[in-house]
């Protein structure tokens, strides 16, 4: 009884002092961070402005010349660029498929809840981080240098580039999974492979498919850019036309790429919506 009384009196004395929503320390920290970020913004704006030669006015003037050169686009070349365009899409499909397969063991190895052996986990995590630090364009330049101009170095570059993203995203999905079913499978005598197949795969499969489609979208766009450095596909043709100063042809190619990319993104978005 005495205990109950003391709790009551304590509660009434505390109601006089209404606590603030956030502690004063947090408020100070947030304020400091806000102003630091603001200062960084102002500085970088100032510096980049100084580097711009003609300023915004010059850019507008240049825009007119550029537009005059690029228009009207020459759609007569359409039959000729169909093949390289298909090549670009094929590159993205093949690269995404291979990356999606290699991702599975890599993602499992770099998920903390599956790979409980710490050194192995850190090793594969670091490996993935290293992969992601190399830009796709650099990869393409290296592989074109090794294998010559063509589709193959482009596919290799895309595989490695998308592996870095995909394995990272999927390993994080795996780490967010409900561990209880896995415990149940282990408790019923399943081995590691069975536990993964029965308790993990059903939980990860929708996100996995969605992420693979997302990476496929990225790869379509990336494979266009890779063509610019000689890695095959429509980018290669675009680069050639730009090199010949044939701007109407280049403009037609750009518009077609734009339409195709939007179309593919739309379809893959619809599929992903249906999945998750």
């Amino acid at each position: 009884m005495t205990k109950g009384k003391s709790v009551l009196s304590q509660a009434s004395s505390e109601t006089n002092k209404i606590p603030t929503l956030y502690p004063a320390k947090t408020k100070l920290q947030v304020t400091v961070i806000f102003f630091t970020v603001l200062i960084i913004y102002i500085f970088s704006m100032y510096w980049t402005q100084r580097e711009m030669v003609g300023g915004v006015g010059g850019a507008l003037g240049n825009m007119y010349t550029v537009i005059k050169k690029f228009f009207p686009p020459n759609f007569a070349i359409l039959p000729n660029i169909l093949d390289p365009l298909l090549q670009t899409i094929q590159m993205a499909i093949i690269a995404t498929t291979i990356a999606a397969i290699i991702t599975i063991p890599l993602a499992l190895l770099s998920a903390r809840n599956v790979t409980t052996f710490k050194p192995l986990y850190y090793f594969s995590r670091t490996f993935l981080n290293l992969l992601r630090t190399i830009p796709d364009l650099v990869l393409a330049v290296i592989f074109v240098g090794l294998f010559g101009i063509g589709v193959f170095p482009g596919i290799l570059a895309l595989i490695i580039f998308s592996l870095g993203i995909l394995a990272k995203l999927i390993s994080e999905t795996i780490e967010a999974v409900d561990m209880n079913p896995m415990e149940a499978m282990r408790a019923s005598g399943g081995n590691t492979l069975q536990v993964i197949w029965y308790a993990l795969v059903p939980q990860v499969l929708p996100q996995y498919t969605s992420l693979v489609l997302y990476v496929f979208e990225i790869n379509i766009r990336a494979s266009v850019v890779l063509g610019l450095v000689g890695a095959g596909g429509i980018g290669l043709i675009l680069n050639q036309q730009l090199g010949f100063y044939n701007y109407p042809n280049a403009m037609a190619i750009i518009i077609i790429i734009f339409v195709v990319v939007i179309l593919i993104e739309y379809i893959s978005n619809k599929i992903r919506e249906a999945l998750v």
């Binding site: 209880n180 415990e183 149940a184 408790a187 019923s188 005598g189 197949w197 029965y198 939980q203 929708p206």
Partner: protein, 258 residues
């Protein structure tokens, strides 16, 4: 038969999970472990299928010391001991039969289980198990479409499909309402009687323990502080086990089953 001989368990963070446990559980018994949360009930039950590993002593299951088990032996032990969890632990995105067939994982080869190549016997066993807990009409549902009580029945069906010698139930009714809790406990009791499966259940409701148990083991601070037939247990015994007076929340009520 399960024999604990001087079993102790200290967690890596220094918490003493079990302290010199000496107890023998005979085949066919329905044992209820009671105690407040943190008393070591879960650690006790999870030691038996080695989801946790005691740090000293010896634990004999069918006269084999399971504390040294690794790999294949460990999986064989787990095949023999079915487990039921507080949160049902079903794969929510998988269908009910797929969840139930997961009980066969220890019996079926890796390749066969991954390719869904289950024998006719396994499939009919899974269906029979669902029928025994009266949930066979949910066979085409996904696990997350079921209510809590239904999910727990599916998890009982999973354990039945495993055809274990022992059933370990870790707080099986802690997430359920009173009528559903009694239903689940009735199924567990029925399976214990009909199949002769030794059943060990963790509970913290004292009225429920007294109603269903053959034998009650009381735990506090990782030690066994009471061990005796349910008929000898009164509220006074529980006050000794809990180390405090019995409160309203220690009882589930609703014993009149519908």
């Amino acid at each position: 038969m399960i024999e604990f001989k001087d079993v102790s368990l200290v967690y890596p963070n220094g918490t003493q999970g079990l302290k010199n446990i000496n107890v023998t559980i005979k085949d066919g018994e329905f044992v209820v472990i009671v105690g407040l949360s943190g008393a070591g009930k879960s650690t006790f039950i999870r030691s038996i299928n080695r989801l946790v590993t005691p740090t000293s002593g010896s634990l004999l299951v069918d006269n084999e010391d399971i504390l040294t088990f690794k790999g294949k032996d460990l999986r064989k032990l787990r095949t023999k001991t079915g487990m039921i969890f507080q949160n049902y632990n079903l794969v929510k995105r998988s269908s009910v039969p797929k969840n139930v067939l997961a009980g066969r994982l220890g019996h079926v080869g890796t390749v066969r289980s991954i390719l869904n190549m289950y024998s006719k016997e396994d499939l009919s066993l899974a269906y029979e198990s669902l029928k025994r807990v009266n949930i066979e009409e949910k066979i085409y549902n996904r696990a997350d479409e079921l209510s809590g009580g239904q999910q727990q029945r599916v998890s009982i069906a999973r354990v039945l499909t495993q055809q274990p010698k022992y059933i370990l139930a870790d707080e099986p009714v802690a997430s359920l309402d009173p009528p559903t809790s009694h239903q689940v406990m009735t199924y567990l009791k029925k399976i214990n009687k009909e199949d002769g499966i030794t059943t060990i259940v963790n509970l913290h409701f004292i009225d429920m323990a007294m109603e269903y148990a053959d034998r009650i083991i009381g735990m506090r601070g990782g030690e066994i502080v009471f061990d005796g037939p349910a008929s000898e247990v009164s509220e006074k015994t529980f006050e000794e086990i809990y180390g405090r007076s019995i409160r309203e929340e220690d009882k589930i009520g609703g014993a009149d089953k519908s």
